[in-house]
């Protein structure tokens, strides 16, 4: 995509965004994951996405559960507050933090074990509440951190490193998010920055819960033949649908695309999300169509990537809760505590 491709300055590290910050300003601590782990590529895509959007690091809160994937918030945006919670419970922490500080941009990082097994309930409820969060599932089909057990996203028939075949059905987080009434469901591949970065940006600007399932091979426990979440397998079976291209309202970016091959989606803040259709018939606003499409490709063992479904108008967590625009932590105490006279008045009814 043109807007990633051409850095203004020859040395990418020196390039500055609208805030005058370099990519390095969006990085975090050194990764301790295995060399070549898909999760590290997602981290890099996140750094890029935040940088390109020109968000202040301290405007962001990053949260996670437990797992190799959940360690990654330590590896980007060191200027943002981070929260590595307990296994499968990132969504609830994000809910509380969002309730308190709706002005902050929340990004939640989870794994397939974290979100589809122990935390399946919390994942589901964050989606159905349309919590204001970018929810990334770094999906490798295994429990990396506990050394390679199958997760609930492992496809039937896929083989574990030790040779055992999985015979249980796989949970597809994208299809799940759509059936739960989610407002944004996308899939990408850790090695596909070109697709992933714009999706991350679109997810960050989406008002509600943006779920991105990122297939992210575990090089140590799940990157061998027979595994449907391996680099080789995924690359062969990718089927891209819709590319998302976020256009901030303030800056006009010339994008190279064919007329008629895109759909514009107006976001609540007035910005425009541009969906580039590679599949001319695909309509990401059609819920039933999205599910059909996923199912048809699943039957052909194809991993559908791209923005599969979006409804930017679905009321978000805060719309439903009626929370004040002013973050709850910013109210004066006098506006929260009714005072002695009110208490005396109230107690007249208790006699």
């Amino acid at each position: 995509m043109s807007y990633i491709a051409k850095p203004k300055v020859s040395w990418a590290g020196q390039e500055r965004n609208s805030l005058g910050l370099t990519l390095a300003d969006y990085e975090g601590g050194l990764s301790t994951l295995c060399a070549g782990c898909g999760h590290d590529s997602i981290t890099a895509a996140l750094v890029r996405g935040f940088w390109e959007l020109g968000l202040e690091p301290e405007q962001v809160i990053k949260l996670s559960g437990i797992g190799c994937s959940s360690k990654t918030p330590a590896y980007f945006l060191s200027g943002a507050h981070g929260f590595n919670s307990v296994h499968g419970r990132m969504p609830s922490v994000a809910t509380g933090a969002q309730a308190a500080r709706r002005d902050l941009i929340a990004v939640g990082i989870s794994g397939d074990g974290d979100s589809l097994s122990i935390g399946f309930g919390q994942f589901a409820h964050a989606v159905r509440r349309n919590l204001n969060v970018l929810y990334i599932i770094e999906n490798n089909g295994v429990y990396g951190l506990t050394k390679g057990q199958f997760s609930a996203s492992a496809d039937p028939g896929s083989k574990a490193k030790k040779g055992a075949a999985n015979r249980n059905q796989a949970i597809d987080p994208v299809a799940t998010a759509i059936t739960l009434g989610g407002s944004f469901a996308a899939r990408s591949f850790s090695g596909d920055k070109k697709q992933l970065v714009p999706l991350i940006k679109a997810g960050l600007m989406h008002p509600g819960c943006a779920v991105i399932d990122v297939v992210s091979p575990c090089v140590t426990f799940n990157d061998h033949e027979g595994s449907t979440k391996s680099y080789a397998w995924t690359r062969q079976h990718l089927h891209a649908t819709v590319e998302a291209d976020y256009v901030p309202p303030s800056t006009e970016i010339q994008v190279d695309y064919d007329d008629g091959a895109h759909t514009d989606v107006n976001l609540h803040d007035g910005s425009v999300l541009r969906l580039k259709k590679t599949d001319p018939d695909y309509d990401p606003s059609n819920r039933a169509g999205a599910l059909d499409f996923l199912e048809a490709h699943r039957a052909r063992a194809e991993v559908v990537t791209g923005l599969l479904y979006i409804d930017p108008d679905l009321p978000t967590f805060h719309d439903i809760a009626g929370t004040s625009k002013q973050p709850l932590t910013q109210h004066e105490f006098e506006d929260l505590s009714p005072g002695a006279d009110a208490l005396a008045e109230l107690q007249k009814g208790l006699r």
């Binding site: 301290e58 943002a80 609830s92 309930g121 709850l328 105490f333």
Partner: protein, 605 residues
């Protein structure tokens, strides 16, 4: 008519009904009428874990001396549930009365020596005057209120005023209701010697008092403390905390212009999530709480330990009910003492506050938020079903407009500008409490919360010394907590004694009454009421100063006694348990008996 003992303003009136028949409003009417007559009252609701159809009882105690505990006595029983007639009859004290609906006469079945049975054809009268089964059921309840007005001299004019207040929005309902009152009243006047020897008389002991449930008072505390985020999953007997908080917020926390909420209540998918939401909100700088009961605390335990180790303020209300497991959801106990004190795996310990009545639910709720933020740790308010769901008469709640929340050690951006480095877990002041920053603050103050091993700088660690440094500091923080939590309160016996009793929470009222009665019989017992864990020096001193110390608690396993033994250098021999755990509130009589027995045995030995 058998004449019983004469008891003016000193009686227990018990109403036996069927759940879901609308008797609650009739019983509330009786309570309030007595209260407005200036008579100290308490109401105790003994209800089933059921929505409709099972037996339920409501016990009103009037006590001119102001005692609020259960006594084990029933002076007047209104038996409205044929299913429980025999049980209800058996419960009436000698010389007492049983009133029942004699539309279907049961004179044979309902006869017992020493109990006067008064039949009133409530259904018949009501059916003659009202149409519709729903209305008739409701009016039958109001009719027994009328009969009691006559029999027990409860002021009918006050009842009328109360009806007018209740139906202020639907004034048309006042007359029919009052007609039902009159039906019962007239019948009783006509057929019995009114008043009974057990009756009410105007006095002036309720000025400056209110009637309130502990859960409503706790919710008020949250409102006044400035809590903005509440997350919960419904569970009896804690549900009414959030219901009340929602009600208060709707009234006091809506922006008058925009209608926006200055609060956020989330009904979570379960208690694990409720705890996570509270911890997330506390981390982000809001005052956040969750009300629950024992089963909820079990589920929340992982997050409680997390918040302890990552030092995030959070307030947990545990409205205790009978365990183990689902237990008896609508019965009371003090069975989560150990659970709350040490919830979660690893070396964890948490400040626990023990309110003894609704007034303290209000006050300690506010303290809980201050402590949680000052200490950056989860704080428990351990109430119970008896306090939480029953109407108690307490002194009017007071509020000091000068109160400001204690946000503890939070660095602002201006503070950050003045320091070279921010280290989240460094003990700068030597009190074990480190400084924190809130999300959204300058990037210099950013840090990464993790429940895994971390060093004083907030970095990940698996280093032996770095790990120890942090957990040892947490122990030091615990020592600081000891000086900050509300201290235990001592009430000396009228004469010198080396016998003491320790009690807490909802046992307080029964203890006070028992000790007064014992003192009148010449048995002097000093009383220490615990208000918090960790225990202050005064608890140790009390144990040292007494030869024998009874420890009264409402659980089977003597949890508080164990806690005293674990935490203090106390001789276990001198700690004598008084345990009550059948699910009903403890009675003063039971305490008198146990202490009396022990002292008599000791005298013999």
């Amino acid at each position: 008519m058998t004449s019983g003992n004469t008891r003016t303003n000193d009686f227990v009136l018990k109403i036996a009904t069927v759940n879901g028949t609308g008797s609650a409003s009739a019983n509330g009417l009786l309570m309030k009428a007595l209260f407005r007559m200036g008579i100290p009252v308490t109401g105790k609701n003994m209800f089933p874990s059921n929505i409709q159809g099972l037996p339920t009882w409501y016990e009103i105690r009037a006590s001119q001396e102001g005692y609020n505990a259960r006594t084990g006595r029933v002076d007047v029983m209104v038996a409205m549930n044929a299913q429980t007639y025999s049980k209800d009859l058996a419960e009436v004290s000698h010389g007492g009365y049983l009133i029942y609906d004699s539309t279907w006469p049961r004179d044979e079945q309902l006869s017992r020596d020493g109990v006067s049975v008064l039949g009133i054809p409530l259904s018949k009268m009501v059916n003659e005057h009202f149409e519709g089964s729903r209305v008739r059921t409701l009016m039958k309840n109001i009719a027994y209120v009328g009969a009691l007005c006559a029999l027990m001299e409860i002021d009918r004019e006050i009842v009328r005023t109360l009806l007018e207040e209740t139906f202020a929005a639907k004034p048309k309902l006042v007359e029919p209701n009052f007609k039902a009152v009159t039906l019962g009243y007239d019948y009783a006047r006509e057929h019995f010697d009114c008043p009974l020897p057990v009756c009410a008389g105007k006095m002036d002991a309720t000025a400056g008092k209110i009637l309130i449930e502990g859960n409503a008072a706790a919710a008020l505390g949250c409102l006044y403390a400035g809590a903005t985020v509440g997350a919960w999953y419904p569970i009896t007997p804690s549900t009414s905390v959030m219901d009340a908080f929602q009600g208060f917020c709707d009234k006091y926390r809506k922006d008058p212009e925009t209608g926006e909420n200055r609060f956020c209540i989330v009904q979570a998918e379960d208690e694990l999530a409720a705890a996570g939401m509270v911890v997330g909100a506390g981390w982000a700088g809001a005052r956040a709480f969750t009300p629950t009961s024992g089963p909820g605390i079990s589920l929340m335990s992982e997050f409680i330990g997390f918040a302890y180790y990552t030092e995030i303020p959070a307030v947990f209300f545990d409205i205790q009910r009978v365990g183990p497991s689902t237990g008896m959801p609508t019965r009371t106990q003090q069975c989560d003492v150990m659970l709350a004190a040490f919830a979660s795996h690893g070396d964890t310990r948490h400040p626990v506050l023990f309110p003894s009545d609704p007034k303290e639910c209000f006050e300690l709720a506010v303290s809980a938020f201050d402590l949680a933020e000052r200490l950056q740790t989860p704080v428990f308010v351990l109430s119970d079903l008896d306090i939480g769901m029953n109407d108690w008469m307490v002194d009017e709640l007071q509020w000091d407009d000068a109160y400001r929340p204690d946000r503890g050690k939070v660095l602002t951006d201006a503070d950050l500008a003045e320091i070279k480095h921010f280290h989240r877990f460094r003990d700068v002041d030597g009190d074990g409490i480190a400084y924190r920053t809130l999300p959204g603050s300058d990037r210099k103050g950013s840090y990464f919360v993790r429940g895994s091993g971390h060093n004083q700088y907030g970095g990940y660690t698996e280093d032996a010394d770095e790990y120890r440094q942090v957990v040892d500091r947490l122990k030091l923080k615990w020592e600081s907590a000891r000086g900050l939590v509300p201290g235990a309160l001592e009430r000396k016996a009228p004469s010198r004694t080396d016998i003491g009793i320790i009690a807490f929470g909802s046992s307080h009222g029964a203890t006070l009454e028992a000790l007064d009665r014992l003192a009148a019989d010449g048995v002097a017992v000093d009383y220490l009421r615990l208000r918090a864990f960790p225990f202050g020096d005064e608890v140790e001193a009390f144990l040292k100063a007494h030869r024998t110390v009874f420890v009264l608690e409402q659980n089977r396993d003597a949890q508080m006694r164990s806690l005293l033994k674990i935490e203090l250098d106390a001789d276990p021999q001198k700690l004598i348990s008084i345990l009550h755990y059948n699910g009903l509130p403890v009675t003063s009589e039971m305490i008198i008996e146990r202490i009396g027995d022990y002292i008599r045995q000791e005298a013999v030995a």
